[in-house]
Symmetry: C2
Subunit: 214 residues, 2 copies
DNA sequence: CAGAAAACTACATCGAATGCAAAATTACAA
DNA sequence: TTGTAATTTTGCATTCGATGTAGTTTTCTG
């Protein structure tokens, strides 16, 4: 059957792993842009062509686990208690995200330098922002679905964009000022708290006056 | 002298213009990814190599005027009245940005399809987000400098990220739901108003309790 | 007009990415 | 086990974006 127990499946997983390991090691030792796909493939003992049947691009090796975090966040919203406040929900989403980072950071020390790559290498920064943006789109729609009476789609987008945009920007600004990863995380959390406090204190203007946006 | 009145400077401006015109026309008629740099150069009557002495990449033709908008926004903050509220300042920044779009849209109908490219072509979307993010960094630092007593750097980052992130996400979400450009703009403005209202209503928590973030 | 400075051009090259068809490998059934 | 179908891997060619270089043309300046 098409389960995960065939030799074929096992081998594919193994090469995939080998490619990721080889790529990360090379990226960290000689830099992302200085590493060619050929070198990665050679280090993983496959042909260059095969690399591209596992990853659509060189960047994808870095972001191969991006979907996990997105689904985790979406799950938090999908499992919301009926009538739960959007601000509480968003708070849990971000807290869950930060917790995952914390855990990963403890589990493996190699996450930090990889994270550093995604904030310094231009092409990775761009791809990372693109992925994050698309996740925000999903979150906004999910949040609106979860709290249709509290937030219009426009408001849900504003809320998600505000909380995540603020956190990301605060973390990045602090990083570029030479802050440690811990300080970055603290700034991100503080920005989140700031945005959430503002969101909670905000009067539900569009509920009481004027037609609700679609 | 090295002024703008030499034949050399004039010619350079002319080729630059020709390259932009040729590129946009090709992008709109046959698609961004389907257009090669060679074609652009040929249409502008220069060699392919010369294209890259005017623009560092194919994407840069699309974003050649990005710096303008950024400087406009930074000017608004730099010329703030002393003691002006951050929320008012941010409101003016975004309003100025929207006004510029409005004007451009009236002046030339070709801005809309180009804007559409930057929201649908993946590589352009990524580059656009990267540029916007870097502008947000500058804005956050400028806002903190303009209102050092009202907002810490973390809070300024949160505020900027919130307002702009919310507006951008709201506009994009509406676009991907098939909204017209006008509706997109409206959603963006609404999201801005939402975030600003929240910001204004927010208690200055970090001013009254706990040490201010750096 | 002559020499310096700048711009343009024609290569040559590299790396990422894709298409394709021929091996090599794995799965499965007789 | 063996033959065959399905799948993966591979090598090769090719396209395109981007950069380096060296030589030619154009513009500037005195």
């Amino acid at each position: 059957m098409g389960e995960g127990s065939g030799l074929r499946e096992r081998k594919k997983l193994r090469t995939r792993h080998a490619l990721i390991e080889a790529a990360l090691e090379l990226f960290l030792s000689k830099g992302y842009e200085q590493t060619t796909v050929s070198e990665i493939a050679a280090a993983a003992d496959v042909s260059t062509r095969t690399f591209f049947s596992y990853f659509a691009s060189k960047e994808e090796v870095i972001f191969h686990n991006a979907r996990e975090g997105a689904d985790r966040a979406l799950t938090v919203i999908a499992e919301a208690a009926p009538g739960e406040r959007a601000a509480d929900l968003l708070g849990r989403v971000v807290a869950t995200g930060f917790a995952a980072i914390d855990m990963d950071e403890r589990v493996s020390r190699e996450i930090a330098p990889i994270n550093h790559l995604t904030m310094t290498v231009p092409s990775l920064r761009a791809r990372g922002l693109l992925l994050l943006f698309d996740v925000q789109r999903e979150l906004a729609e999910a949040l609106h679905r979860a709290c249709p009476d509290e937030l219009s789609l426009t408001e849900a987008s504003a809320a998600v964009g505000a909380v995540i945009g603020g956190a990301k920007l605060a973390a990045f600004v602090h990083m570029s000022h030479g802050a440690s990863p811990e300080e970055m995380m603290r700034a991100g959390r503080a920005a989140t708290a700031f945005a959430l406090a503002a969101l909670r204190a905000s009067p539900p203007a569009s509920r009481t006056s004027g037609p609700p946006a679609p």
